[in-house]
């Protein structure tokens, strides 16, 4: 399958999802299950990732902040980079690896074992039953997890700044809140929602398009992870460019 047919197929799937969202026609039970497994069960790994991101950020920034005597601006620097860029992108990549890959494997297995056809034979629309709940759950989960992750990353950056650079937490947080704009938060939320939608559409598209038995499932998972990562970076560029 070449890139154009993949993009075209994913666009058609996105359209079918949107058609079923207005008005909402999807399985609420499946949505609740997905929200639990994708959101709640991803919380610990996302917090761990965010904590490390905050720590690394301060270690990397230390050299430059110290060189230019900008210790009082550490909070703003860490917050700016975390909220606008690193938080949404790194957490989306982590989410893609955990949830996107799992979703493709799950739907791919259902497809090659004819379970999806079984649903269609029961007059159950696979898009409404399988895809839309996963789409919504991924968008909501990743947005919420990114906000939590951003907060965790900033807390860990604040603690590390205090230990490494002797920047007390009051200085850290006051510089962050004095410079941070509502637009930065809006950008972060928008990006994470877009990334969630990308991961959802990709993982469902490749999952439902799986063929060739068990090896085919592996191929689909690989395609999902690679294409989601590429799409995340492309959309990150355009969203940063457009939304500032």
């Amino acid at each position: 399958m070449d890139i154009s047919s993949q993009v075209g197929g994913a666009a058609v799937l996105l359209w079918r999802i949107l058609v079923r969202l207005f008005p909402p026609r999807f399985d609420k039970n499946e949505f609740r299950k997905c929200l639990y497994s994708m959101g709640y069960q991803s919380l610990s790994i996302m917090i761990a990732t965010a904590f490390v991101v905050g720590v690394i950020l301060v270690i990397q920034a230390f050299v430059f902040v110290d060189r230019y005597g900008m210790r009082s601006q550490l909070g703003w620097g860490a917050g700016f980079v975390t909220i606008r860029e690193l938080g949404p992108v790194l957490l989306a990549l982590m989410f893609s690896g955990r949830v996107g890959a799992f979703t493709t494997a799950e739907l791919g297995t259902m497809t090659v074992t004819e379970q999806v056809d079984g649903l269609r034979c029961l007059a159950i629309d696979p898009i409404s039953y399988l895809v839309v709940p996963r789409f919504l759950a991924m968008v909501i989960s990743l947005t919420a997890l990114t906000m939590i992750g951003n907060a965790v990353a900033l807390v860990s950056a604040s603690v590390m700044g205090d230990i490494m650079m002797e920047v007390d937490s009051h200085t850290f947080w006051s510089s962050l809140f004095s410079m941070l704009k509502v637009g930065d938060i809006v950008l972060s939320v928008t990006k994470s929602a877009l990334f969630g939608a990308i991961i959802a559409v990709n993982s469902c598209f490749f999952g439902l398009g799986t063929s060739g038995g068990a090896p085919g499932v592996g191929v689909s998972v690989n395609k999902t992870v690679v294409s989601s990562a590429v799409a995340i970076f492309v959309v990150d560029f355009f969203s940063t460019f457009v939304l500032g």
Binding site: T113, E114, A123
Partner: protein, 250 residues
């Protein structure tokens, strides 16, 4: 009643069905035979509304699958039960929940009634006591029986069984085919069975269709089918090594 008229289906340059036509009357148990890759499963998927043909007309119970909208297709599919080649059981739920699933989705019955019907249907296929097992704890033959129970629990007007005996030992294979014949006898539904167990299939079918290179080249009552002089029929029956002497056809 099923009518397939000049059906063409292709997969990436390969023609799975090449001008296939078939007429099946209500209440018939049609055995479908043919060499591997000849289009038997694709034909079943077309009849179940799972594959849209590239050309030709598909009528199932007077609904034209080529021209009907999604809701009309879904409505028609509610009267079709399909037992898939790979069983297609939902692995994360129990045997009982698998069998209850169609009733939960397609009917307004209460939970108690659904469970009673599912237990009764599982008993019909000889799986009493297996209700709370997960499908991955069952043997191949038991999985087929669960799939059969799930396909027929709604008492569909049309039951399609795609290779229900594949990979099973002869005794289990015969048991499954006898169960299918029993279901048809009880429910009076139309049944299409694809199977490589030609002897077993012939013993339960009213009619036999031979699919060859994407076409139905012979379709007749079992007695007439046996006497066909078409060389493909004779070749296929010879390959199946049928015990013609003393063979009970009907």
């Amino acid at each position: 009643m099923i009518d397939l008229l000049d059906i063409h289906v292709g997969y990436g340059g390969h023609k799975a069905l090449d001008g296939l036509s078939l007429h099946v009357n209500d209440g018939v148990l049609l055995g479908i035979i043919g060499p591997g890759g000849c289009g038997k499963s694709t034909m079943c998927r077309v009849i179940a509304g799972l594959v849209q043909p590239d050309a030709g007309e598909v009528f199932v119970n007077r609904c034209n699958f080529r021209t009907c909208n999604r809701h009309e297709l879904q409505s028609a599919q509610k009267d079709i039960g399909v037992q898939f080649q790979n069983d297609a059981l939902f692995e994360h739920i129990t045997v009982l929940e698998n069998v209850e699933y169609p009733l939960k989705r397609l009917t307004d019955l209460r939970a108690g009634e659904i469970e009673a019907k599912a237990v009764e249907t599982l008993a019909m296929v000889g799986l009493s006591g297996f209700e709370h097992r997960l499908p991955n704890r069952l043997s191949g033959g038991q999985r087929r029986r669960v799939a059969l129970a799930r396909a027929c629990i709604t008492r569909p007007g049309l039951l399609i069984c795609d290779e229900p005996t594949a990979g099973l030992d002869p005794q289990t294979s015969r048991t499954i085919l006898d169960m299918i014949a029993g279901i048809r006898y009880q429910t009076k539904c139309t049944v299409l069975v694809v199977s490589s167990d030609v002897v077993g299939l012939v013993s339960i079918s009213n009619r036999i269709a031979l699919v060859w290179s994407g076409k139905v080249i012979e379709e007749d009552s079992t007695t007439v089918f046996r006497q066909s002089e078409r060389k493909e029929v004779q070749r296929f029956l010879d390959d199946a090594r049928l015990p013609f002497a003393g063979w009970a056809w009907d």
